[in-house]
Amino acid sequence: MAVAPKKTAVRATAGRVADVAPRTRAQPSPRRRPGVLLLVATRKGAWLFHGDARRQTWRCDGPHFLGNIIHHLVLDPRDGRTLLAAAKTGHLGPTVFRSTDGGRNWKEAARPPAFARAPGGEPGRAVDHTFWLTPGHQSEPGVWYAGTSPQALFRSVDGGVSWDLFFDLQTDPQYRKWLGTAQDGTPDGPKLHSILVDPRNPAHLYFGMSGGGVHETIDGGRTWQPLVAGLEVVEGLDASNLAFHDPHCVQLCPSLPDRLYQQNHCGIYRIDRPSDTWERIGTRMPKRVGDIGFPMVVHPRDADTAWVFPMDGSSVWPRTCVGGIPAVYATRNGGRTWQRSAAGLPQRDAWWTVKRQAMAADGSDPVGLYFGTTGGDLWASRDEGREWTCIARNLPEIYAVETGRPA
C-alpha cells in the first residue's frame, strides 16, 4: 500500500496551540545534529512528525494509511530507517506494514501475526489486531516482537516480513487458566502489551497482559513465570488469580535494567530486581488525583525519574483527565514524591485522556516528553515536562506516540 503523505511544518510556541502551517523552513542538512522523530498512530491513520535537533520546529508527514486503525507505529532503533505499523480497518483483518526507508514506501508483511489453524471441529482463534510492537535486542537485528488481541506473543526474525507464534499462552494449561475468558479483558479485547527486552540479555524478556498480569522469561521464551507479587487487584477479587491482574503499561529503565515501573489498573508500582515484589509508589500521589492511569514513561538516563498521566478511575471509570484538568505527574526519586506538571496545558474543560501507548520520551538532554490525546491533540515538552506546547491538533483519536532517531 503506497501513500502520498502531505508535508507541512509547525513551529512550537510555548504555552499555546501552534497551528499546522505551510512549510516555511528548509529541512536540516545531513551535517546538522539529528532531530527527533515522533511516530503517531491513530484510529484513522498514522503521522510522522520530524523535529529539528532543538525540537522547536516540526514537519508533519502524513497521513499514512488514512482510514486504517493503526495501533502502534515504531522505528527500529538499530537502523533508524525501518518502520513497522500494526494496522487493520473496521472491516478488514489485521496486518503489519513495513517501511525500510523511513516511511516513504510501505510494503505489507508476507505473513502477519496469525494463530495456527485449529484441529478439525475446534473453533480456533483469530488475531483481531496486533496491538504492540517491540524491536528485539541490539544483538539480534531483524528480530521483532508483537503482542496481539486475543492475547498472544509473536516473533519475527526477518524484520517483520513473517511472524510466528512465540509463546502460545492459549495452549499452555496453566496460562490458559490464568487468561480467563474473553470477558476478563478490556472492552475491545484483552491485549498483550509492554513487551520489554533486557538490554543486557536478549533471552530476558517481560510482557504484560491486560487480563493476566506481568510475566518474565530468562531463557529466551522457553519458560515464563508470573511477576505479580505486591500488585493489587480490584477490591473483592482474589489477587492469587492472575486473570484479575491488569497491568496497563510496564516500562524498564534503560539506565538501570533491573528497575521497572508500572502503571496498573490498581495504582503505580516500582520493582527492583532481583526482588519479585512490586511496591505501590502511587500512594504518594495527591489523593484528589489518585494513581490510576494508562501510560508510564521512564527517563532514558535517570532511573529515579518517571512520568505518568493520571485519569479519572472513579465510579464507572470515566477515563478522562481528573476534573477535566490535564496534568502530567513526575517523580524524581523513584516514587517517594510526585510533582504536578501542567504549564501550558488547558486549565479546565479538557475531557480527554492519554492511552497506554500514547506518551513517550526522547533521548535528548533535557529529555523531550510527548503525549497524544483521545481528542487528537499532540503535546510536547522540551524540558522534561516543565512546560507544554501543542504541536498538532485535530488529529484522529491518538492510540500511540513513540519517538525515534532517524538515520
Binding site: 503506497a2 472491516h91 483483518g93 496486518t95 505489507e108 508476507a110
Partner: protein, 85 residues
C-alpha cells in the same frame, strides 16, 4: 470470472473489477491471493472464517459457504458489510 472488489481492497488490486478463476469461492479467493498477495487474509481469518464485516455474493445472492461451487460465468461480489455507520 468477474470479481467485484470493495474499495478498502483497491490498494491490493488497483481496480474495482478483476478476473479470477476457481471451482469454488475458496478457490477464487486463493487465486486472488496469488495475484494480489495478502488480500485473502484481510477477508478470511486464519481459521478459514469469513471476517465479520466482509460479505460475499454470487450472482447477487449472499453466501457464507467458501465451498460454494462456481461456474466460470458467475459473478462474485465482495462487499463491506453495511452496519449502520
Amino acid at each position: 470470472m468477474d470479481v467485484l472488489i470493495p474499495s478498502p481492497l483497491h490498494s491490493y488490486t488497483g481496480r474495482r473489477r478483476v478476473d479470477a478463476a476457481g471451482a469454488t469461492l475458496a478457490d477464487v479467493l486463493a487465486d486472488l491471493d496469488r495475484q494480489f498477495p495478502g488480500i485473502r487474509f484481510r477477508m478470511i481469518d486464519e481459521q478459514d472464517r469469513m471476517r465479520v464485516h466482509v460479505r460475499f455474493f454470487v450472482n447477487g445472492a449472499q453466501t457464507f459457504d467458501l465451498s460454494s461451487p462456481l461456474r466460470p460465468t458467475d459473478e462474485v461480489a465482495i462487499v463491506q458489510a453495511l452496519s449502520g455507520g
